[in-house]
């Protein structure tokens, strides 16, 4: 039995990821999460002296806090199975990645376990987030220096 024909058999018989349905549920889940975020942001603006710009920080903190509680209660993984990218891409997904790793590695102690592994999943988000921000800033600086665009 060679690998190619076997791969064909597998492609025929193995159930596919329901891409369209996943896109819809991701859209719905992501939309609901962002809607909740917007409501929280309005709350910070309405009840506290935060402007549109400054309210983003406490809003992110609150969303991560909610994701943390949901992760601890075992609800976020169910949301994740339903929503896929819709629950992974917003900041709550980042919170979930951090907190789930922390819970998982608590058994190895706080230094080597939690401390050493808390960014196991979220680490690449940070690394490539910082790196791509650097690249974009570099490109823009060059373009401004050349005179193509303004700041």
């Amino acid at each position: 039995m060679d690998a190619k024909t076997y791969q064909q058999t597998v492609d025929q018989l193995a159930p596919k990821r329901p891409v369209l349905k996943n896109c819809l549920t991701a859209f719905l889940t992501g939309g609901i999460i962002c809607g909740i975020g917007q409501i929280i942001s309005f709350m910070y603006m309405y009840f506290f002296p935060f402007t549109e710009r400054t309210s983003s920080n406490p809003t992110v903190a609150t969303m991560v806090f909610i994701a943390m509680v949901l992760t601890g209660l075992g609800i976020y993984k169910k949301i994740g199975q339903f929503g896929g990218a819709g629950s992974a891409v917003p900041v709550t997904g980042f919170g979930n990645a951090v907190v789930s790793a922390a819970i998982e590695h608590k058994s190895e102690g706080f230094i080597l376990g939690v401390g050493g592994n808390i960014f196991k999943l979220a680490g690449s988000v940070i690394v490539y987030g910082v790196f791509s921000a650097f690249v974009v800033a570099l490109i823009k600086t060059i373009l401004v220096q050349v005179g193509v665009i303004n700041w």
């Binding site: 058999t9 018989l13 996943n22 993984k77 907190v99 790793a101 590695h105």
Partner: protein, 333 residues
């Protein structure tokens, strides 16, 4: 010797007692009446998942020994394995049991590979009673191979759920009222260059097909009550059926084919393709199947356990998933 991978045991070693223990989620299994111990705590009252895993192995082994009317000192050899790094749960359980011990790793096929090895040891007549089997604990295995338990990653429909449970038995010399090991086929590693660690059923089906085909070719004319694979799941068993159908090995076989992983949680779509893990085949083979053999409901079954021989490191480095399948033919006089 060309066909040495299949062997017929002249001494007919018998499985004299078995014990099966499972965790809380396994309560929804249709096999539940045949599980000896059902725990409400997936950590079995221990502080870590790995300690719970070791406790599960220890308690199940003790029960298997007790059900056979033996003491731990009667056991000449303890052959077992699990899926955690360096098999610490099994090693730690062996420390508590204080019997002669050899750890074995064949991934999820350990349930059968230990039984085959135990049969060979008994065939030499040097040993009297051998404790064999395997176990897995969902949380400990998932963190080893995939993501943290609480991480919200979406699993595809081919994904499988690692069983929390262990199945162990005591193998001894032939007893007419117990099921015995008639013959066995040792698998060879089959790699069809599949790389998706969330679709191991598809990868393992090729290995299962290879072993079944070889075993049937060496035992022509034997009729089985059924052939059962360990944890191919709904996806893998569908592929195995197709392979059997197109190759024409035995058209008879397709109707009599079952898969422990696909049946384990009933028809629960939330658990996707079905159950997997070293505990999946062990709990089903040494629980319900053994019980039905004892009752002489079935006379001859071919049990095939499949294992995906991957590590988190190997698939991250882009290696494909090599798979293995071992087969044992159990008979009841």
């Amino acid at each position: 010797m060309k066909n040495a991978r299949t062997y017929q045991f002249a001494s007919k070693p018998s499985i004299v007692s078995t014990a099966v223990a499972v965790g809380p989620l396994e309560k929804q299994s249709p096999f539940l009446p045949h599980f000896d111990l059902v725990y409400d705590d997936e950590r079995f009252g221990q502080e870590t998942n790995e300690k719970g895993h070791a406790y599960l192995i220890e308690e199940t082994c003790k029960l298997a020994i007790m059900k056979g009317g033996f003491q731990t000192t009667d056991i000449d050899l303890f052959l077992a394995g699990d899926l955690v790094n360096q098999m610490t749960p099994t090693n730690f359980a062996a420390r508590e049991l204080a019997t002669p011990f050899m750890g074995m790793f064949s991934a999820c096929a350990t349930s059968i590979s230990t039984l085959i090895t135990a049969s060979f040891f008994l065939e030499t007549n040097h040993m009297e009673r051998i404790l064999f089997g395997s176990a897995s604990q969902h949380n400990a295995i998932e963190r080893q191979f995939r993501y943290p338990i609480e991480y919200g990653a979406q699993k595809p429909p081919t994904g499988q759920w690692t069983v929390t449970g262990g199945g162990f038995g005591v193998l001894s010399h032939y007893q007419s009222d117990k099921p015995y090991v008639h013959s066995a086929t040792i698998g060879q590693v089959v790699d069809c260059e599949l790389k998706d660690p969330l679709d191991m059923g598809s990868a393992m089906a090729a290995a299962a097909f290879d072993t079944i085909q070889f075993h049937l070719s060496q035992n022509k004319g034997t009729s089985y009550d059924f052939v059962m694979t360990g944890d191919l799941g709904k996806t893998g068993s569908a592929i195995l059926k197709e392979l059997i159908r197109t190759s024409g090995v035995s058209s008879y076989f397709v109707d009599q084919y079952r898969d422990a992983g696909a049946e384990f949680y009933g028809n629960n779509d939330k658990l996707l393709s079905g159950a997997s893990g070293a505990g999946c085949s062990a709990t089903v083979y040494y629980g319900p199947i053994y019980a039905e053999l004892l009752k002489k409901q079935w006379k001859k079954v071919l049990l095939v356990a499949t294992g995906a021989l991957l590590s988190p490191l190997s698939f991250q480095q882009g290696e494909s998933i090599p798979c293995i399948a071992h087969a044992v033919e159990l008979s009841m006089d």
